[in-house]
Symmetry: C2
Subunit: 356 residues, 2 copies
């Protein structure tokens, strides 16, 4: 089998396909049913369904049940207002009011984009932001507007081991960046700081597969291949993954006025999440055409490279996800049957029809 | 043996110790002998000797011979002037004029710091910057001034394999960040995007040790443990290291108006390097004391964690290097005898006395 999105199993016999627009409208219905304004529900649905379309299910609608449960528990406020705490020509600090994370995060990146258009750079933090889903979709907001976008997030309490430690010391913080391309999809990196993500571990559980060695420890600190026994993820590339994890925690968490993972002892939604957004306008640094010409040459050079064993061709970062999205646009988003069944249960409880 | 800076061998019997000030003055002498102004030679010597003091020899004075050779070859201009190409309240694009990289890079980060003090964020690129040594020392300039600093660099032609490729597609670009701490040394991450650095491979050669498996390939694309046979480094954590490598290449190289590694075919100094500097002032996002309190709590929590086997205690990112620096301040910088001998040869050619 040719390897595309590494670490995510796929099996079309266990999946069904749902049109993008229908899934989006379905998510809007579930969120509005919890009391969200439709305009904000649409923003959140756009981000979640884009994550699904790109194959990042764990950070798309698969997380929806947890969001709705957190609304029921009072940890996510469906009617939260996003407040501006501090603002300058190139910076802003927002308070997401513990609303659904995607709404304040989208505002955060959009504000960074506006500031970057005016001053060349925009840096925006969001405190009390809650889980914002897939980091890539925010970086993409900037790249589709012709800007370089970067985002990091500081999620819940520790689940990733510190380097040189037996203990989890950081959350599996995410870092994403995207850069605009003259034609075709932006170049995108969306990475967690651990050797893997909880979403990939859950996907292995869903597809009934063991996880690779060196991804995670069990509760006794032993390496495990059982997705059900994994309790602590190892930091990617040792000291580097740990260093990046702390970096994300400082840029998004501490800078935003929030807490670092080691000071988050409660459940993820009770503890909240914080985010950082950066947008850069290439025109403030070089000529736009010079920038695009060099990006074009880079993409061509990467694609022309000789593939390693097990790969059909060499892809630029984010290209496998863009291929997944392109196929989802024409054929619908493939959802695992258990994932679809869980969404159907949510719909039944809300009295909403499923679009499949 | 307790593991501190991972991947760097040490053996005190092969080393001699040189006082920091003496080494700095020695470097100034060598650079002034090539025609640099003393004020600029001091800037470069500060950065290089700080890298040595932190144990990052490969990016400190060990690289000096290559810089001096590049001056002789006409690739580095000792009398280059740093020009401002574009400037706004929060951004600037500098042209380093192919001078010794440390000079324009120091100006770049200092300018980012000044802009961040005024507007909360400063983003500065440097094109025609040349190799700037250790990335960490620029991030540290910001952190020692109470700001969060980040830098990436786009060095020479490809030496690190692309993910899914048999070919080298990126340089071993570096990414460093540092955050200010109320008391004590800043938290610092300084990482390359490959599984290892050419400096670590050279250090293994210097100490007569094999390199670990999965660090590098030989010319035939086979995994090798021979530091002399290594020609291509593997990307750290596969797709993530490659994604970060491309990110660094875009943020520092393409954004600055320079070329991506795949378009650099000549020798590193003929092809030049480009850099990116970002500084953020926490006060524009949250209260300074809130920020420092949370950083203090984070450091305490990390240091209090239970160490894994082979570690005496858990350290925050950058702490091993700060320990090395602290010892170097009191006892002098330990230099490998071959490294010292090479510096002595340079001194002899310039008619300068060695301080050991």
């Amino acid at each position: 089998m040719m390897q595309r999105t590494p670490g995510f199993p796929r099996d079309s016999e266990q999946e069904l396909r749902v049109p993008i627009d229908a899934l989006r409208q379905f998510v809007v219905g579930l969120l509005v049913h919890k009391g969200m304004f439709e305009a904000e529900a649409r923003i959140a649905a756009d981000r979640m369904v884009e994550a699904d379309a790109r194959g990042t299910y764990s950070h798309g609608t698969w997380a929806l049940k947890r969001y709705l449960d957190a609304m029921d528990a009072g940890d996510i406020d469906p009617r939260a207002q996003v407040l501006t705490l501090r603002e300058g020509p190139s910076t802003a600090a927002l308070d997401g009011g513990n609303g659904l994370g995607h709404v304040a995060a989208t505002r955060g990146m959009q504000l960074a984009i506006r500031k970057a258009r005016e001053t060349g750079v925009g840096a925006v933090t969001v405190v009390r932001g809650q889980h914002y889903g897939a980091a890539s979709v925010y970086a993409l907001l900037a790249a589709r507007d012709g800007l370089i976008g970067l985002t990091t997030t500081n999620t819940g309490s520790p689940t990733v081991a510190g380097y040189g430690s037996r203990q989890a010391l950081t959350a599996n913080n995410a870092l994403a960046w995207a850069c605009p391309v003259r034609n075709g999809p932006p170049i995108v990196l969306d990475m967690a700081v651990g050797e893997t993500s909880w979403g990939k571990i859950a996907a292995h559980r869903l597809y009934g597969l063991p996880i690779p060695e060196k991804w995670a420890w069990d509760a006794e600190g032993r390496s495990t291949t059982d997705p059900n026994a994994a309790t602590t993820i190892l930091p990617a590339a040792g000291a580097r993954g740990f260093g990046l994890a702390v970096m994300c925690g400082v840029f998004s968490g501490v800078l935003a006025g929030g807490r670092f993972a080691t000071q988050k002892k409660t459940s993820p939604f009770a503890a909240g999440s914080e985010h950082f957004f950066l947008a850069l306008d290439p025109e403030h640094f070089t000529d736009r055409e010079t920038y695009f010409d060099e990006i074009d040459r880079t993409i061509q050079a990467i694609r022309a490279a000789e593939p390693a064993d097990g790969f059909d061709r060499v892809r630029v970062p984010g290209e496998p996800e863009a291929e997944h999205e392109s196929q989802a646009v024409t054929e619908g988003i493939p959802l695992h049957r258990d994932h679809a069944a869980e969404l159907a249960e949510l719909a039944a409880a809300a009295g909403i029809e499923v679009p499949w």
